[in-house]
């Protein structure tokens, strides 16, 4: 019996059922499908089984992550750059920040130094400088901190120290490596915090 009824079903009925389930069925196809399902038990059963399978799968959603999930992810991250927590601290203590800024502006050196756009870089024998781009060549190791002002740095080798780029970008090649912290200071705002920090550390040193 089943074999016989299958014979008379247009091949594309199952296809139409799937299109219907995906919300892709045209109105006229919808009418055709409905008409067929009313007269054909096999296709109707096929359709109902598909709907049932989908409903079963949907019924098992709403799983939640374990309670300590976020904490565990954070524990696996590399240590946060100290500069970020410093910056966040200043952001959360606006009064202190304003006071610190005032002190710096009073020194008068800030804008003068910001406007200097002279390219400069910490000197190391194995650094290559190509038109305002500093390159740490592949296979070379720079032992110490590098600061680049008004230029970019491309790290293909290894830096055993911190890298600071002021008004420029840093590119770390896949083979490149920096053992210390990498920091980019581009905007005036960040430049201010950089000045705040260095002024403060000088103050505290005294």
């Amino acid at each position: 019996m089943i074999g016989v009824s299958k014979m008379k079903c247009p091949k594309h009925v199952v296809e139409m059922i799937h299109k219907y389930l995906d919300g892709d069925l045209h109105e006229d196809e919808g009418r055709e499908l409905k008409k067929h399902l009313q007269s054909c038990e096999d296709c109707k059963a096929h359709y109902q089984e598909l709907e049932k399978a989908v409903a079963f799968v949907k019924s098992i959603s709403h799983v939640e992550a374990p309670a300590d999930f976020t904490q565990k992810v954070l524990e696996k991250l590399p240590k946060e750059k100290r500069t970020v927590s410093t910056r966040r601290w200043f952001r959360n203590h606006p009064f202190f920040s304003a006071a610190a800024l005032f002190v710096i502006l009073m020194t008068g050196s800030l804008f003068a130094s910001y406007e200097e756009s002279q390219f400069s870089v910490t000197k190391y024998d194995n650094l290559v400088v190509d038109n305002r781009t500093v390159i740490v060549p592949e296979g070379e190791t720079v032992k110490g901190d590098i600061t680049v002002k008004n230029g970019d740095i491309k790290i293909e080798g290894k830096v055993e120290g911190n890298v600071t780029v002021i008004n420029g970008d840093q590119y770390l090649a896949s083979a490149g490596q920096v053992t210390g912290e990498v920091e980019e200071i581009n905007e005036l705002f960040e430049w201010l915090w950089y000045e705040v920090k260095s002024t403060l550390s000088e103050v505290f040193k005294q």
Binding site: A53, T70, V73
Partner: protein
């Protein structure tokens, strides 16, 4: 939502881990659920979901902010889950099933602790059966079915996550549905 995420991403790019924690909180359930339904094991799901978030953090500089963040994280988690499925050796499946009785699946973990009314036990058993049947699907059908019916994503979003044409996603969903129909029809 996108605006909030983009703001957080800018902070993460500067290395702000508090901002990252907020993003993890927002997506952890969806990502964990995806991994759990793909892998069928709580410990593995946790492992892979954590890995997905760590990759997000480590690769945040390569994320294009003109694109949808959720698509990106779903892609990372789906690919990691598929990799894990493919790395499983056949004998590992046997181990996992035996271990399942010792509380490795979510529901037996819950059910072993508390005495539950008959009806709830039945519901939990039904859920375990459905999960088992999903796990029988080849990974390319399993991923589209989970993304579509458990994560409730649109066909377009799934196509973007898997980097496939929408037509291919539809074909896979049709085949996945047909397989599940045969597996679940007698329930």
């Amino acid at each position: 939502m996108e605006e909030f995420i983009n703001k957080k991403i800018k902070q993460i790019k500067k290395g702000d881990q508090n901002a990252f924690a907020e993003v993890v909180e927002l997506y952890k359930d969806k990502i964990f659920q995806l991994c759990y339904r793909m892998l069928g094991n709580v410990h593995e799901a946790e492992d892979i979901a954590q890995e997905a978030f760590i990759r997000v953090y480590m690769n945040i500089h390569s994320f294009d902010m003109n694109k949808k963040f959720s698509t990106w994280i779903y892609r990372i988690a789906t690919n990691l889950s598929i990799d894990r499925i493919r790395k499983k050796k056949p004998d590992y499946y046997l181990d996992a099933e035996v271990a399942g009785t010792e509380g490795l699946t979510m529901y037996s973990q819950v059910s072993s602790d508390i005495a539950m009314p008959e009806k709830e036990v039945e519901a939990i058993e039904l859920q375990e059966t459905i999960q088992k049947e999903i796990l029988k699907l080849p990974d390319k059908y399993r991923s589209v079915i989970v993304l579509r019916y458990i994560e409730e994503l649109s066909l377009q979003e799934i196509a973007e996550i898997l980097e496939l044409p929408v037509g291919t996603v539809k074909t896979r969903i049709h085949r996945g549905r047909e397989a599940l129909r045969k597996q679940l029809r007698h329930l």
